[in-house]
Symmetry: C2
Subunit: 139 residues, 2 copies
């Protein structure tokens, strides 16, 4: 098993040491093991978890709080699935509703991003036209 100290993890993930401690403090990532002298020792799996959190953060544009709630929900559902559940049917329905809301939101966001990308592409096109003008002037 590989063990990483906080500075290694910082370099690997691109986060600062402060940020790693902060994310742990607010419960966004699980507390890693510690040495006898209380020094944080991260595993490869810990690092993977951090990576997933970073992607979710960036992709969803969530605040850290929202992200936290989301990860909690996800964990709950997965536990419920394997271990035979702590959720009743009305809770499950509630969660399902919540999820479809999220999915819907993501679809809307994706659509707007595609529109935006198109706008940018059009801008790029205009620049190309301009550049051609300059090329002509040089002849």
């Amino acid at each position: 098993m590989n063990w990483y100290k906080i500075d290694d993890v910082a370099k690997i993930t691109g986060l600062t040491k402060r940020t790693l401690r902060y994310y742990e403090e607010i419960g966004l990532i699980p507390p890693p093991e510690r040495s006898d002298g209380k020094i944080r020792l991260y595993t490869d799996e810990d690092i993977e978890q951090i990576r997933r959190v970073l992607i979710a953060k960036e992709v969803l544009g969530f605040s850290l709080q929202e992200l936290q709630q989301f990860l909690h929900l996800k964990k709950m559902i997965e536990q419920n699935h394997t271990e035979y559940g702590s959720f009743g049917p009305e809770e499950l329905l509630e969660i399902k509703k919540h999820l479809s809301g999220q999915i819907h939101m993501l679809h809307a966001k994706i659509e707007r991003m595609q529109k935006f990308t198109q706008e940018l592409t059009e801008l790029q096109q205009k620049i190309k036209v301009q550049l051609n003008q300059f090329a002509k002037e040089d002849e």
Copy 2:
């Protein structure tokens, strides 16, 4: 021409009055007309502009500063196109590079969002299975 006072615009856009003044203060939206008594009077076009800014903010996940720079850039390019340009060819190339970077980033983001949406859909599926179990138990 329709004129809206700040409270109307707040209700229409969902922003607070403070936020509207703040966005104006940092140059994110153009200052609207004023009455003789110095009261802000927004037009439909102003409101449209605000809407576009909001979408760009949400979609791109930009900070207000980045957003500001981006809008500035866009305006510049469009002016350059119609009014015959304040940009030289090397500046245009720089901007073009910048734009392709942005477009690339958006593509990557869209892809990750689609993956994420799929993950959520799978979670939803698991919940449906759970709900079916409950339905069976009730028979």
